[in-house]
Symmetry: C2
Subunit: 417 residues, 2 copies
């Protein structure tokens, strides 16, 4: 956001329509792409979350096929989506959008959405849309009647002749790719759809063109960022997973059971910051900061390093796990918890402590059911200062790997640095 826009919001009612009736034939997979799982959560849920985060979007109408209605209800319930209404999709994208718009014309009651001044149309398969571009298209639509996000063309566009040869290439700089989101004065786009010919409802290219053709409304074009790209092919799903993993790995909270003995924990924190560039590492003392920690969890921190300095059991880690379970945070994305234990092989009795620590496997099984990925990390902690540094550095590398990969197959393991 540019600073002037922080907190800015339109002074009129805004709703969104999300056509999600597609069948994903392009992906070459049986699941329609809006329902493909990313970290086990369907793609469309990420898109809904992106829209819900924007407080001034009052209603979100999703159009899905009759067969997927139950699945969609399940997604809304499981991921606690708010302000959503479902309508049945039509056989084409335009018919689905039209159905969504119709649902917004009915008189609003407690349960039904009411007619907005401006309506956003977005794709279920563009999960990374940001508030600033939504505000830009909405504001431009309020002024011009219609607006849409555009991007530079990545490839040259050509016109083939009937015999499959090149007729001509378009001059790339004179054209743009029309992306989503788009926004319209509700009356403009609704009017366009009401007038729309059957042919255009079947084959028409896109909403901006319908507003132009039927209402003579020339859409304002707004430059979007590359985040707006549409998940279309299998490689796009891979990219989306990496991006989501990156987003939920942006903050790590180090939790410990004491305020003293900050020496090596401070060093571990430093190493982590070094290993995970651009990541916000904070630390909290668990026993003194219950409320503080709850705020961090509420702020959607998905990564915890729980340092057990005083004890070789899991008291502290268990307290943290309890807080996490109560928060329901892990409903949305897998939470990584690394339970760190320091051990000096030479000066301490090894076997008994190891046995305690190996309990991590049982704890892990329990919390894994709730999408919490718990690992143990044993950091070798000898007297030699230089060796401590090396151990901590390796510990940070292991923590970084666990957070980056977030692989459930590794939950319950005790790693050694």
């Amino acid at each position: 956001y540019s600073p002037s826009e922080v907190g800015a919001q339109p002074g009129y009612r805004v709703a969104a329509v999300l056509p999600a009736g597609g069948c994903g034939e392009r992906m070459g997979v049986p699941t329609p792409k809006q329902f493909c799982p990313i970290l086990e959560r369907p793609l469309i849920s990420y898109t809904l979350q992106a829209l819900e985060r924007v407080s001034w979007i009052k209603d979100i109408v999703v159009a899905v096929t009759r067969e997927n209605m139950d699945k969609m209800e399940g997604i809304i319930q499981r991921y606690q989506h708010k302000r959503i209404s479902l309508v049945e999709s039509g056989v084409t994208r335009h018919r689905s959008i039209f159905n969504g718009l119709k649902a917004l014309t009915e008189n609003g009651s407690n349960t039904k959405p009411s007619k907005p001044e401006v309506v956003i149309i977005h794709d279920a398969v563009r999960p990374f849309v940001e508030e600033d571009v939504l505000l830009k298209v909405v504001t431009a639509a309020k002024e011009h009647g219609a607006a849409g996000a555009i991007r530079p063309l990545v490839s040259t566009v050509i016109s083939p002749s009937a015999d499959g040869c090149l007729d001509h290439s378009l001059e790339r700089s004179r054209y743009k790719a029309s992306e989503m989101p788009q926004a319209f004065l509700f009356d403009v786009i609704y009017d366009a759809y009401q007038q729309c010919s059957d042919y255009d409802l079947e084959f028409g290219t896109e909403c901006l063109q319908l507003a132009l053709k039927y209402c003579h409304t020339k859409a304002k074009l707004v430059e979007g960022s590359s985040d707006l790209w549409k998940v279309t092919y299998k490689q796009d799903l891979y990219a989306a997973e990496s991006i989501i993993k990156g987003i939920i790995s942006q903050q790590i909270c180090i939790v410990m059971d004491t305020k003293e003995d900050k020496g090596h924990i401070g060093l571990l924190e430093e190493m982590l910051k070094n290993e995970l560039k651009h990541i916000n590492v904070t630390s909290r003392t668990l026993c003194h900061a219950g409320r503080d920690l709850q705020q961090i969890i509420l702020d959607q921190c998905y990564n915890f390093v729980c340092v057990n300095v005083l004890n070789f059991d899991f008291q502290e880690t268990q307290k943290l796990l309890k807080l996490l379970e109560d928060s329901h945070l892990s409903i949305f994305n897998p939470v990584v918890v690394v339970s760190v234990h320091f051990l000096d092989y030479n000066s301490e009795p090894f076997g008994e402590k190891m046995e305690n620590i190996m309990q991590i496997r049982e704890f892990s099984k329990e919390v894994k059911k709730r999408n919490i990925l718990l690992c143990g990390l044993l950091i070798y902690y000898p007297q030699d200062k230089l060796k401590i540094q090396e151990s901590l550095r390796q510990g940070a590398t292991i923590i970084a790997a666990l957070i980056k990969e977030r692989n459930p197959g590794l939950a319950g393991q005790l790693l050694v640095a």
Copy 2:
């Protein structure tokens, strides 16, 4: 490949030109995208490998900036690329291609490439090009003078008016995205570049259009697969990494030190096949199959599960590591080796064996320098048949995770199933 094309090759000389002078400003990162590392290897090296695999492409000319000449020489040496010549890139893409073509007009000697009948032009940032589409564009170019791969448009293309509003949308079905590879009769494209105006060398859209404009050659258009996509943005790098990880995880070789006692190893193999669908799992007895194993390594298997049935030391794993180091396979991609050990906690003395197995950390450090990621896996092997199954299933899950993530930060760990 369709069966008729297997082994088909053109009966005339073919070369390729790869413009790689771009500076990657779109990516928003300081490294030009063709040099961005994927699993630590620069993107362009994957593209070169894709072209080299095609035996009938006799010369590959790469155009790079003067500043990147040394870097490129280093990549060629390190990854043992063959049939490559370097030329200096021009200030635009077209000037770079022209420089590459010029290099092919010089008389061939032992070290210099010679003039081909058909020349392929490809992008350094499209690493997943397959032999079949290369053959198709080359064959079509031989017949029509020019040919290029096309793809359906993902977004609607629009023409903006001067005031940043929509002028009109193009009918999506009537246009295509022009992708790479393209191919030309050498004389056609060389002639086109020689006649080409300075304006077109600076701003001209693409080679197909130059062949049309200057030589009246209408390119044949060939439908390509979605693999042809161009690594343009950061999300494309993520996708490319996932695809490459997928490609090198397609085969797992289970190696063991005995032909007897196949019971639980057969079961582990079965579980692995179940865990890793579509993956080719083969097994070999190390002591009887040295040559056999060398063939598997030559066939570029990047995943080994080494089962130590008889011994609790690393004799078998060390033999495998020696074979791998001699093969230089890990120059190209990280090799994952999981050293599996079975243990019945109840009936066997625990401490001593564990100590042996913990040596894995030291071995791992050594081979990690050569891009071999070694982990240990201890599979709990009790008398109870049902529990064995559970242990083996969990072992397979862990192996699958290690192969999928291929994270160097986890090398040297001893995991427990």
